[in-house]
C-alpha cells in the first residue's frame, strides 16, 4: 500500500516538517513577551517594545506561511494518494476474471471505491497534519519535566505506558468494528442499488413497503455497528483525561512530600504540573487522530485485500493460430463452476470449420452459455481442451483471443454514452463508415437514425431504448470489431421474426466470420451448417437439422415444440 505514495514522498515528508517548524516558532512567543517585559517595560524603551511586537507579528506571519505550506503538502499527498489508490483499485477490479468477479460482487467494490478510499484519505490527511506535532509536544514536555525534577517526573513515565495500553485497547476494540461498519455499508449499498435497478418489479408487485422495511432493518444494523464502534472510540478521550488527571493527583502527593522534604520547590511543582497539562491537551488531540487513523486502517485493509487478488488466469503469448482445418475444436470439455456443484458442461467434443455457422440448442440451464464462454476464456474448463485455429485458447495472449472472438451476451448491455461511444468498445479505431456498416448488418440503422445519429445519447442500461433495440446495438458493437468468431447468445430473443431473419442473413452476407448461434427456437438454428444439442451439460446430438430430426430425440422434441404450439 505504501507504493501509492510514489510521487508524493517529498510532500509526505515535508508536510509534518513544516507543521513542526510552525509549532517550534510558537514556542518562541513566550520568550519574546518575556523580553518585552524584562527589557522594554523595565527600560521604558518604547522603540524596543514596538520592535518586539513587530517581531511577534513577524513570527506569526512566518508561522502562517509554514502552516499553509504544510496544509498544501498534506492535502496534495492525501488526495493524491487516494486518487492513485482509486486508480489501482479500479484497474484491479476491471481486470478481474469472470470467476473472481462472481466472487467479489459489485456493491462491495463500490464501497471500497467510495467510502473506504475516503476514509484512507482522511486518515492520511490528519496523520500528516498532526504526525510530528503531538508526539513532539508530548515527548518535549516529558523531557522538560525530567530535567526539572526526575524525582517526580517518573510519574509521567508511569502515566504514558498506561495511556499506551488504553490507546492500544481502544484500537483493538475499534478496528474490527469499523470493519463491520464498512461491511454493513456494503449491504446498504447493495439494497439501494438493487432497488434502483429493480424499481419496476418492486412497484409492479407493490413491494414498496416490504423494501422499505428491509432497507430500514439493514440501516438499523449499520447504525448499531456504527454506534458500537463510536461508543468504544468515545472512551478514548475520557480515559486519557482520567489517567492524566490521576497522574496529577499523584503529583500533588509526591510533589507535596518532596516539597515538604525540601527536594523540590513550589515553582518546580508548578512547572511539572504545567507540563502534565500540556501533555493532556495534546493527547486529546492525538486521540481524535488515532481514531481517524484506525478507521483508515480498517478501510485500507479492505482495499488492500482486493489489490492483493492475483489474476487466476494466465494467458499465453501466441498472436496467431496454426494451420488447421478447424476454426474451433472442443476436446472432451467439462466445466464445473464450483467444487461440489454438478458439471454445467460435461465431456463435450465438437469441431467447427472456418466460416461455418453452428447452432446450439438445449433446454434452459443445459449449459449453452457456459459451453461457449470457454472459447474467449471467460471461464476455463475443468477438464478438456478448447482449440481456436488449431491452438489451445490458453496459448493466446489476451488481446488476440478476445479480438478473435466476440460474444453478444444474452442480456444486452448499453452504456450511458453516445451511440458512437457504445459501439467503439468493439473497436476503438473504427471509422464512422465502419460503425454504420455494423449498424446496417445488425438491422439497427433505422434505430440510430430515429434517435438522432451516432451522437445520440443513450441512457444508462439503454433505458430509452426498447428491448429489441438494445439487442441490436449490442450485436452492432460486436460486429464493429470484425471478429473471426462471433457468438450470438440468444441475442435476438426480443426481435420479431422478420428482423431476426434479416439479421441472420445480413451477418452471413456481410461478414465472413465463423458464427455460433445459441437459440431457444429451433427456427433460429435450422439453417445452420451443424447443430449441437445440449441436455443437462451433455452433448446429445450433433449434425444438420435433417440428420438430427431423425437421430436425436431431444432435438425432435424441441423442433416439434416449436410447431407443437401451432
Amino acid at each position: 500500500m505504501l507504493s501509492y505514495f510514489k510521487g508524493y514522498r517529498l510532500q509526505a515528508f515535508l508536510a509534518p516538517l513544516f507543521k513542526l517548524s510552525e509549532a517550534l516558532l510558537e514556542l518562541l512567543v513566550p520568550l519574546v513577551v518575556a523580553d518585552i517585559i524584562d527589557r522594554g517595560v523595565a527600560d521604558h524603551d518604547t522603540r524596543y517594545i514596538l520592535w518586539r511586537a513587530a517581531l511577534l507579528v513577524g513570527i506569526a506571519v512566518v508561522g502562517f506561511g509554514f502552516a499553509v505550506t504544510a496544509q498544501w503538502f498534506s492535502a496534495k499527498t492525501a488526495v493524491g494518494y487516494s486518487a492513485k489508490l482509486k486508480s489501482a483499485l479500479f484497474g484491479t477490479v476491471m481486470g478481474l476474471s469472470y470467476r473472481q468477479m462472481d466472487e467479489v460482487g459489485v456493491s462491495r467494490m463500490l464501497t471500497r471505491m467510495g467510502s473506504d478510499a475516503m476514509q484512507v484519505q482522511n486518515g492520511i490527511n490528519m496523520f500528516l497534519r498532526l504526525l510530528l506535532r503531538s508526539p513532539f509536544v508530548v515527548f518535549g514536555a516529558l523531557v522538560m519535566a525530567l530535567i526539572v525534577d526526575p524525582g517526580t517526573a517518573w510519574l509521567l513515565a508511569v502515566v504514558i505506558p498506561v495511556l499506551s495500553v488504553i490507546v492500544a485497547g481502544v484500537i483493538v476494540g475499534c478496528l474490527p468494528r469499523y470493519r463491520s461498519v464498512q461491511q454493513n455499508l456494503d449491504e446498504v449499498t447493495r439494497l439501494a442499488s438493487e432497488n434502483l435497478s429493480g424499481a419496476r418489479v418492486v412497484r409492479a408487485f407493490a413491494g414498496e413497503e416490504e423494501e422499505k422495511r428491509k432497507f430500514d432493518r439493514q440501516n438499523r444494523l449499520l447504525m448499531f455497528t456504527q454506534k458500537v464502534a463510536g461508543h468504544i472510540g468515545a472512551l478514548l478521550n475520557p480515559l486519557t483525561y482520567l489517567v492524566v488527571n490521576g497522574g496529577i493527583i499523584a503529583l500533588l502527593w509526591v510533589g507535596g512530600l518532596r516539597v515538604d522534604h525540601g527536594e523540590l520547590t513550589q515553582g518546580q511543582t508548578v512547572a511539572i504540573y504545567n507540563y502534565m497539562a500540556t501533555i493532556l491537551v495534546e493527547l486529546v488531540k492525538l486521540a481524535n487522530l488515532i481514531l481517524t487513523v484506525t478507521r483508515a486502517v480498517a478501510s485500507a485493509r479492505r482495499i488492500s485485500e482486493v489489490l492483493a487478488v492475483e489474476p487466476d488466469q494466465t494467458f499465453g503469448t501466441a498472436t496467431q493460430g496454426v494451420e488447421s482445418p478447424f476454426a474451433i475444436r472442443y476436446e472432451g470439455v467439462s466445466l464445473r463452476y464450483s467444487e461440489g456443484a454438478a458439471d454445467a458442461v460435461s465431456d463435450v467434443s465438437f469441431e467447427v470449420m472456418r466460416g461455418e455457422t453452428v447452432g446450439i440448442v438445449g433446454s434452459t440451464g443445459s449449459g449453452k452459455t457456459s459451453l461457449l464462454s470457454l472459447l474467449p476464456r471467460f471461464y476455463d474448463p475443468t477438464e478438456g481442451k478448447v482449440l481456436l485455429d488449431g491452438l489451445d485458447v490458453k496459448e493466446y495472449d489476451k488481446e488476440t483471443l478476445r479480438r478473435k472472438v466476440h460474444v453478444v451476451g444474452q442480456q444486452a448491455v448499453v452504456f450511458a454514452d453516445t451511440v458512437r461511444g457504445n459501439l467503439l468498445w468493439g473497436n476503438p479505431a473504427a471509422s464512422d463508415e465502419e460503425l454504420w456498416q455494423a449498424l446496417r448488418i445488425a438491422q439497427a440503422e433505422d434505430v440510430v437514425l430515429a434517435k438522432g445519429g451516432l451522437d445520440a445519447f443513450l441512457e444508462e442500461g439503454g433505458r430509452n431504448l426498447s428491448g429489441g433495440q438494445r439487442q441490436r446495438l449490442s450485436i452492432a458493437r460486436a460486429l464493429v470489431g470484425k471478429p473471426s468468431v462471433l457468438i450470438l447468445d440468444d441475442s435476438s430473443s426480443a426481435l420479431d421474426n422478420a428482423t431476426d431473419k434479416a439479421l441472420r442473413e445480413a451477418i452471413k452476407e456481410g461478414t465472413d466470420c465463423t458464427l455460433l448461434i445459441i437459440s431457444q427456437r429451433s427456427t433460429g438454428v435450422k439453417g445452420a451448417d451443424k447443430i449441437l444439442v445440449l441436455d443437462d451439460g451433455l452433448a446429445v446430438g450433433w449434425g444438420t437439422h435433417d440428420e438430427l430430426l431423425s437421430s436425436c430425440a431431444v432435438y425432435r422434441e424441441i423442433y416439434q415444440a416449436t410447431g407443437g404450439v401451432r
Binding site: M118, E208, K501
Partner: protein
C-alpha cells in the same frame, strides 16, 4: 444555507432527548474541565516550602478533584455516546427517507438519472453528512461552552480586559466566515465530480464482464483517469482551502495578541494611557487569558469550514428528497377486486415531446379477455404496458379500469392487481425462495414450491447446492432462462386478477415454454391479460390480437380473422415460419 439548516433541524428535532443530554453533559464537562485546574492550583499553593506543606488541605482537594474528574469522565463519555446516537440516528433516518423517496420517484426520473449518482447520494453523501455532524456536535458545543465559560472567568477577574478581548474576536470569526463562503463552492465542485466518478464506476463495475470481453480495460482506465484527475484537482483544492481556516484565524489571533502585548506594555510604561495602573502581573494575566480565549475560536472556525462539506452533501441529499414525486390525486381511491374491463380511450403518449410515439390509441378489453400485443421491435408494446401500469402517465386520453380512470386510483392498488413479468429479468441478492416470494413476503414454503413447480423451475432449484435456500449472488450464478423462470414463478405465487406478460418466456426453451403456456392458460382463466410476444405461435389462441406498428394499432382481431385479412399480421406471422 438557511434551507440546509432547516432541513437538518427537521431531523434533529426527532432526537431532542439525546441532544439535550449531550449538550448538558458537555456543559458540565467543560465547566469541570475549566474548574479542576483551579483546585489543582489551590493545592499547589499549599506547598509553600520545606515542612510547610498542609497535607490535610491537599487531601481534601484531592478528594474533591477526584470526584470532579470522575464526574467529568462520565460526562465526556455520555456526551460522546449521545452525539454518536444522534448522528447515526439522523443519517439512518435520512437514508431510510431517501429509500422511501426512491419508491415514490416517477420512473422517468429513474430512467434518466445515472444510478451510481443516486446511489452516491444515499451512501457517500450521507456519510459525509455524518462525519460533519459528529464533529460539529462534539466540537461546536464544547467550543462555544468553553468560550462562554472563559468569558465568565475573565469578566470576574477584570471586566475591562475581557471587554477588549470580546471586541477583538469578531475579527477571527469574520476571517472564518470569509473563507467558509469561498470553500462552499469548492466543496460543491468536489461533491459533483465525486458523484460523476461514482456514476461511472458503478456502471463500469456493473458491466465489468462486458468490458473485459471487449478488452475495454484500457479504455475504461483512461476514462476513469480523466474523471479521477479532475476529482483530484478539485478535491485537493477543497481539502486545502478548508484547512486554511485554522492557520488564518491563528494568524489573526497572533496579531491581536501582539497588539495587546504592545498596547499593554506601553500602558504599563505610561506611554499610552489606555488602562491606568496596569501592572506587569496584570498584563501577563491578560495575555494568558487572551490566549486561552482565542483557542476555542480557532477550533470552532475550523469546524465551521469542515461543516461546509457536510452542508454541501446535505444539499445533495435534500435535492433528491425534494425531487418531484409521482403523487396520487388527492381524492384517489383504492382499486378493490376489479372485474378487469379495460378501456383505452384515444391515448397519446411520447417519452420525448418532439418524437410522438403512441397516438390516438383506442382499445376496449372485456373482463377475462386475453389480449396479445404483437408488432415489430420498437413499435411501442412495452410503452403501452408502461401506460397500463402507470409507470408513465398518458399525455392525452385516458385509460379506464372497470370504468374508472386509472389516474383517479392509487398507484399501488392498481399495480397490486396486475401480475407482471417484464422483458428484463431482475433477480436480487437473496435466496431463491425470497426471490420468488417478492410479491407475497409471507408465503409459506409450500406455496413457493408449488409456484416453482407450476413453472417447471422446481427441478433446477432442487439441484442447486442449498435448494430453495441457495443465495443468488449479485445477479449471477444462474442461467438467464432460469432467472426468467424465477420471475414467472413470482406471478404464479400471487395469482393476480389481471396479468401482463412482456415477452415473459423469451429466454426459455420451447419445450418448457409450452408447459408454462399451459400453466399461464390456467392462471389466466377468466382474467384479463396482456401478452407481448414475438413468437407469434404462442399467442395464436388469444381472444384479441393487437397488431402495432410505429405506435399505432394497425390491425385487431383473432388469429384466424387476421390471417384471413392477409395484412401486416399475415406477413409477420409467415416471416417466422421459414
Amino acid at each position: 444555507m438557511k434551507g440546509t439548516l432547516r432541513f437538518l433541524g427537521r431531523y434533529i428535532a426527532k432526537v431532542k432527548l439525546p441532544l439535550a443530554l449531550g449538550v448538558l453533559t458537555t456543559l458540565v464537562s467543560v465547566g469541570l474541565t475549566l474548574y479542576t485546574p483551579v483546585l489543582f492550583g489551590r493545592a499547589i499553593d499549599e506547598m509553600v516550602g520545606v515542612g510547610q506543606v498542609d497535607f490535610g488541605v491537599i487531601a481534601t482537594l484531592s478528594w474533591q478533584t477526584a470526584v470532579m474528574i470522575a464526574v467529568n469522565v462520565l460526562c465526556q463519555w455520555v456526551s460522546g455516546v449521545c452525539f454518536n446516537n444522534l448522528t447515526f440516528r439522523i443519517t439512518k433516518d435520512m437514508r431510510v427517507d431517501m429509500m422511501a423517496k426512491l419508491m415514490r420517484l416517477p420512473l422517468s426520473y429513474l430512467d434518466t438519472h445515472r444510478q451510481g449518482e443516486t446511489l452516491g447520494r444515499i451512501t457517500s453523501d450521507v456519510e459525509t453528512v455524518a462525519d460533519g455532524l459528529l464533529m460539529g456536535f462534539s466540537q461546536l458545543v464544547s467550543g462555544v461552552a468553553t468560550i462562554l465559560a472563559t468569558l465568565v472567568f475573565m469578566f470576574v477577574i477584570n471586566w475591562l480586559i475581557a471587554l477588549a478581548v470580546v471586541v477583538l474576536t469578531p475579527l477571527s470569526l469574520f476571517v472564518a466566515r470569509f473563507i467558509a463562503r469561498r470553500i462552499h463552492s469548492g466543496f460543491a465542485r468536489q461533491a459533483e465530480t465525486r458523484a460523476k466518478q461514482t456514476g461511472y464506476v458503478n456502471e463500469m463495475f456493473t458491466h465489468q464482464k462486458t468490458v473485459g470481453a471487449y478488452l475495454g480495460e484500457a479504455r475504461a482506465a483512461k476514462e476513469f483517469e480523466e474523471i479521477n484527475g479532475e476529482w483530484e484537482k478539485v478535491a485537493t483544492k477543497a481539502v486545502f482551502y478548508s484547512s486554511l481556516t485554522n492557520p488564518s484565524t491563528r494568524l489573526v489571533n497572533a496579531i491581536v495578541y501582539a497588539a495587546v502585548a504592545a498596547l499593554g506594555a506601553l500602558s504599563v510604561t505610561g506611554t499610552l494611557s489606555l488602562a491606568e495602573g496596569l501592572t506587569v502581573g496584570g498584563m501577563s494575566i491578560m495575555l494568558s487569558y487572551a490566549n486561552q480565549y482565542t483557542k476555542p475560536f480557532n477550533e470552532i472556525s475550523g469546524v465551521i469550514t469542515e461543516l461546509q462539506n457536510a452542508f454541501v452533501c446535505c444539499d445533495r441529499v435534500r435535492e433528491l428528497l425534494d425531487a418531484a414525486e409521482e403523487t396520487d390525486e388527492p381524492n384517489a381511491t383504492r382499486l378493490v377486486s376489479p372485474r378487469g374491463d379495460i378501456d383505452v380511450k384515444d391515448v397519446s403518449f411520447a417519452y420525448d415531446p418532439h418524437r410522438p410515439l403512441i397516438e390516438h390509441l383506442d382499445l376496449r378489453v372485456k373482463a377475462g379477455e386475453r389480449v396479445a400485443i404483437v408488432g415489430p421491435t420498437g413499435c411501442g408494446k412495452t410503452t403501452l404496458i408502461n401506460l397500463l401500469m402507470r409507470f408513465y402517465d398518458v399525455d392525452k386520453g385516458e385509460i379506464d379500469v372497470d370504468g374508472k380512470d386509472i389516474r383517479t386510483l392509487t398507484r399501488p392498488s392498481l399495480r397490486y392487481h396486475y401480475g407482471m413479468v417484464l422483458q428484463e429479468t431482475w433477480i436480487r441478492h437473496a435466496t431463491v425462495a425470497d426471490n420468488i416470494a417478492i410479491g407475497k413476503p409471507d408465503a409459506t414454503r409450500e406455496e413457493i414450491e408449488q409456484a416453482a413447480k407450476e413453472v417447471y423451475a422446481d427441478s433446477f432449484i432442487r439441484r442447486l447446492p442449498q435448494g430453495y435456500d441457495t443465495v443468488i449472488e449479485d445477479d449471477g450464478s444462474l442461467s438467464v432462462g432460469q432467472k426468467q423462470l424465477l420471475c414467472i414463478a413470482r406471478v404464479m405465487l400471487i395469482k393476480p386478477p389481471m396479468l401482463i406478460l412482456d415477452e415473459a418466456t423469451s429466454s426459455i426453451d420451447t419445450r418448457t415454454e409450452i408447459k408454462i403456456q399451459k400453466a399461464f392458460g390456467t392462471l389466466m382463466q377468466g382474467k384479463t391479460s396482456f401478452v407481448v410476444a414475438h413468437r407469434l405461435q404462442t399467442v395464436m389462441d388469444a381472444d384479441v390480437i393487437l397488431v402495432m406498428k410505429d405506435g399505432h394499432v394497425v390491425e385487431t382481431g383473432t388469429h384466424d380473422a387476421l390471417m384471413a385479412q392477409r395484412g401486416f399480421y399475415f406477413t409477420l406471422f409467415n416471416s417466422g415460419l421459414n
